[in-house]
């Protein structure tokens, strides 16, 4: 478990401060370890099919926090990971902790873009925002009371070589539920916990409303960009016009300068807004994580219901055989009636087998019930934790959006006050 020393020592450059939520976590990794995704680098390599590919690698830097408090600067460990390894980690966490709302990764491809943003994965702005998103992901996991204790996660942060093999050795892929099975359960389950049904509806609504919001926001950003940039044309024309004017010349020229300032100001404004959009996107993807937990519950509940049903029918069969009555239609029963009855010995044997199966079934049902109840309990605890986190984060995001709007308005007031003064001197 010795951390592999990184190629070079880099100073950690935090993209985003530790999330507020971590202040409430007592014993989580995030408290003991400073984690940053500090750099992104373009790489070329050969993929599984021996074809050349270009990808981006991200530098994860970690440093123990305790030694900082002692006044010493502890060494920084670092390693490089690419997006697909993050995905692998997350898939592992999803399967291993199905009762946890696992934090989402930043989007794989640029979505909800407006015209100025590139949809290209290699675009530096996209890469930068992804770097921040990946750091956020790691911090979320590190501040989760359950997930932060996972050994695979710790190795992801500290062990460059052999991590992939380690994950695959856990065999988590085999434990994964098939999508088909999950879908089947969703349709057929009879008595899911009502809270999970409500939660599922909520996550659907959340996903739908946030996507809609992001789409319209992108369009609004596009239009706002247009308004600002067209004003830039005034600058050029005023300058040219001022050349033929005597009295108006100065006023025109200086007003034109302010129009240029105005037009240029939109770039920073919209860049900041992208970070706000990313905050919303995180919760868009969180909706999927919520649904995953609901699906797991449905699956377990369905499993339980099937097991109970199976047990009931076996008991009935047993009873029929014992009493010789046939309450439920069974093909076997009919054929035996038609083609001759069984001997008492054969019947006894059958009953014995069934009784064994019934006992097994009852034990299984008991443990499934317990499992189910445990799952509901722990899942619901995490869901409550998630709800509080979500409310906190979203409220903060909305406030930061207001702060951005205020800043934009103040800039606008300044520019137009200056411009007005110049115009009035024309």
């Amino acid at each position: 478990d010795e951390p592999v020393p990184a190629e070079g020592r880099h100073t950690a450059v935090p993209g985003r401060a530790l999330h507020e939520g971590t202040q409430q976590m007592e014993d989580c990794l995030a408290k003991k370890m400073e984690i940053t995704v500090s750099e992104a680098e373009k790489r070329t390599g050969r993929n599984a099919m021996n074809m050349q590919e270009t990808y981006t690698a991200y530098l994860i830097e970690t440093r123990a926090v305790e030694s900082q408090n002692e006044g010493q600067c502890s060494p920084v460990d670092s390693l490089w990971r690419r997006y697909s390894e993050f995905e692998l980690l997350r898939n592992y966490l999803l399967v291993t902790y199905p009762h946890i709302v696992v934090p989402p990764l930043p989007e794989k491809r640029a979505d909800f873009v407006w015209h100025k943003l590139s949809a290209d994965n290699m675009d530096p702005d996209f890469v930068e925002r992804r770097r921040i998103g990946l750091e956020n992901f790691l911090l979320r996991v590190a501040s989760h009371p359950v997930l932060c204790q996972d050994k695979i996660f710790y190795s992801f942060l500290t062990q460059e070589g052999g991590w992939k093999e380690m994950v695959n050795e856990t065999g988590f892929q085999l434990k994964a539920d098939s999508r088909l099975k999950a879908l089947n359960a969703t349709f057929r389950v009879k008595n899911p916990d009502k809270r999970f049904t409500e939660l599922k509806h909520y996550s659907d609504e959340l996903q739908s409303v946030i996507s809609h919001l992001l789409r319209v926001r992108a369009r609004v950003a596009d239009r706002l960009y247009g308004v600002y940039k067209v004003h830039g044309n005034y600058g050029r024309v005023f300058s040219e016009w001022s050349a033929i004017e005597k009295e108006m010349g100065d006023g025109l020229q200086s007003a034109g300068h302010h129009m240029d300032v105005y037009a240029a100001s939109i770039d920073d404004i919209l860049e900041e807004e992208e970070h706000y959009a990313d905050q919303l996107k995180e919760y868009l993807f969180y909706a999927e994580a919520l649904r995953a937990v609901c699906r797991k519950h449905e699956l377990m509940q369905y499993d339980l219901e099937m097991a109970a049903q199976d047990l009931t029918s076996k008991k009935q069969q047993c009873e029929e055989l014992a009493t010789g009555t046939m309450r439920t239609f069974s093909l076997k029963g009919m054929t035996s009636k038609l083609f001759g009855q069984e001997t008492p010995e054969q019947r006894e044997a059958k009953i014995k087998i069934l009784e064994e199966q019934i006992q097994e079934g009852e034990e299984q049902l008991k443990s499934k019930n317990l499992e189910g109840r445990d799952f509901v309990k722990s899942a619901w605890a995490d869901i409550e934790r998630f709800k509080e986190q979500k409310n906190r984060d979203l409220k903060e995001a909305l406030i930061s959006y207001a702060v951005m709007q205020i800043s934009m308005c103040k800039k606008g007031i300044q520019v137009w006050t200056n411009a007005k003064e110049c115009f009035s001197k024309m």
Binding site: W241, G251, I399, W416, A419, S424
Partner: protein, 453 residues
């Protein structure tokens, strides 16, 4: 004599002769009896040669005018459009008030057309009554403009709204189109009323006062549209042939200026329209943006209030944007458009002046070639020389006046635009600040502490 920085006012000379004949403008001592005294202010202003008196009066006016025309805080609200039209004369000096309103549709077997009500209130002696109400259609305005151009080929006749508006997807008789046209027609007549020469034009008076049948019969007299067109055609043709040889420096400068000005004003017009379009698209998207937050709040509990707050802020900003757009379309856009038209008019005036001069030049050339008939030619040439001198002076004076007005109009239009934008941002700022205040109170002073870039 024009004092520096004074109110753009009527230059003391020349006063208009009664009735506009071609080339009849002579700088003359104004016959004091021919005009009724101006309302309120001393009528002698325009008649005295005494510099001091002029300056004194004008400095008094200047202070008033500055408070109105030069103050950056003057906001031109749509409801008080009348303020826009006092270019030079203060209300107390005006004696002719015109309004254009009440568009009415008329349907006949042949055509459908709109008439506008033109109300004139005046205290001038040459008007039989002090109030007139007539109805005029667009054709009548065209007629008036052509008569004025005919009578004063080198004066700057104000622009008329165009026959059709191609850009902007406005239906021919839509309410928007009619209203825009009405405002432009109102401005047209008021500009003529404010013009020191044109205001006394006889056709103008007839336009304002004659009943429909009177106007029709008056229109049928006189040279008519064709001859005026011919005049301009000849003028354009002569300029195409390579310009005028002996054009005074001043008019070459004017020409150069107008070429550049025309270019720039056209581009500005396009820019302003483009900005309007972008703002409209922005408004359309914003309309959808707010309600999504309200929709979201329905599935939330804790953050429902914050979401509704944001929705309400966005809706308010949306309305503020609508106001900003309205300000643009009521003020900057029409003014830029008028000056696009003005630049065409001015180019035409310069050409007509050139044409008048070329008549003189060609006669001089002819004289140089034919030594005979010297006396006859001299007399003709003398007349033409007078004509040229008149035309030049008239144009020069009107040019100065036009430039002053243009400066004033541009200043007020752009200042108004800046004001519009200021109000927009101030309103939005207030909205978001009050939202923020409500949120931070709830959070017990918790503010955005994240180091978001």
């Amino acid at each position: 004599m024009e004092a520096e920085g004074r109110v753009p006012g009527p230059p003391p000379p020349p006063l208009p002769p009664a009735g506009g004949g071609i080339g009849a403008e002579l700088p003359a001592i104004p016959p004091g009896a021919a005009r009724a005294p101006l309302l309120g202010a001393p009528a002698e202003v325009l008649e005295l040669d005494d510099e001091e008196d002029d300056l004194e009066v004008f400095s008094k006016d200047t202070s008033l005018a500055e408070a109105n025309s030069f103050s950056p805080s003057m906001t031109i609200s749509p409801s008080s459009m009348i303020n826009q039209y006092k270019f030079e004369d203060e209300p107390e000096l005006r004696d002719l008030f015109i309004t254009v309103d009440d568009p009415e549709s008329h349907i006949t077997a042949i055509e459908t057309f709109i008439t506008y009500r033109v109300i004139t209130k005046t205290s001038r002696g040459e008007f039989d009554s002090c109030e007139y109400e007539v109805r005029r259609r667009y054709q009548d305005f065209l007629w008036l403009k052509s008569k004025l151009e005919e009578a004063h080929p080198t004066l700057i006749i104000p622009p008329l709204p165009e026959k059709f508006i191609m850009k902007g997807m406005v239906e021919r008789f839509s309410d928007e189109f009619i209203e825009t046209r009405r405002k432009a027609l109102h401005k047209f007549l008021n500009r003529i009323a404010d013009h020191p020469t044109l205001t006394f034009n006889e056709d103008f008076k007839i336009f304002l006062t004659a009943q429909a049948w009177e106007l029709s019969s008056h229109k049928k007299q006189g040279p008519g549209l064709l001859s005026r067109m011919g005049q301009t055609v000849r003028a354009v043709a002569s300029s195409v042939r390579g310009g005028v040889k002996n054009r005074p420096e001043m008019f070459t400068e004017m020409n150069d200026y107008m070429e550049t000005f025309s270019q720039k004003i056209n581009v500005l017009d396009k820019i302003a329209h483009r900005i309007y379009k972008e703002e409209r698209e922005y408004f359309n998207e914003m309309k959808e943006y707010g309600p999504i937050h309200t929709l979201w709040s329905a599935s939330e509990e804790d953050i429902a209030d914050s979401l509704k707050g944001v929705a309400s802020c966005i809706d308010k900003c949306c309305k503020a944007t609508e106001k900003r757009m309205a300000g643009l379309s009521e003020n900057l856009l029409p003014i830029l458009h008028e000056y696009v038209l003005y630049s065409e008019i001015l180019m035409g005036v310069l050409k007509r002046r050139d044409h008048i001069q070329s008549e003189l030049d060609s006669k001089i050339d002819a004289l140089a070639n034919k030594k005979a008939d010297k006396d006859l030619f001299s007399e003709e040439i003398g007349k033409l020389e007078d004509k040229v001198e008149c035309a030049n002076n008239a144009l020069k004076a009107d040019w100065d006046r036009w430039k002053q007005n243009m400066q004033c109009d541009m200043r007020s239009a752009f200042t108004n635009m800046a004001d519009n934008n200021l109000h927009y941002y101030e309103e939005c700022l207030a909205t978001w600040e009050s939202f923020l205040a409500s949120q931070t109170v709830d959070c017990h002073g918790e503010e955005d502490s994240e180091d978001r870039p």
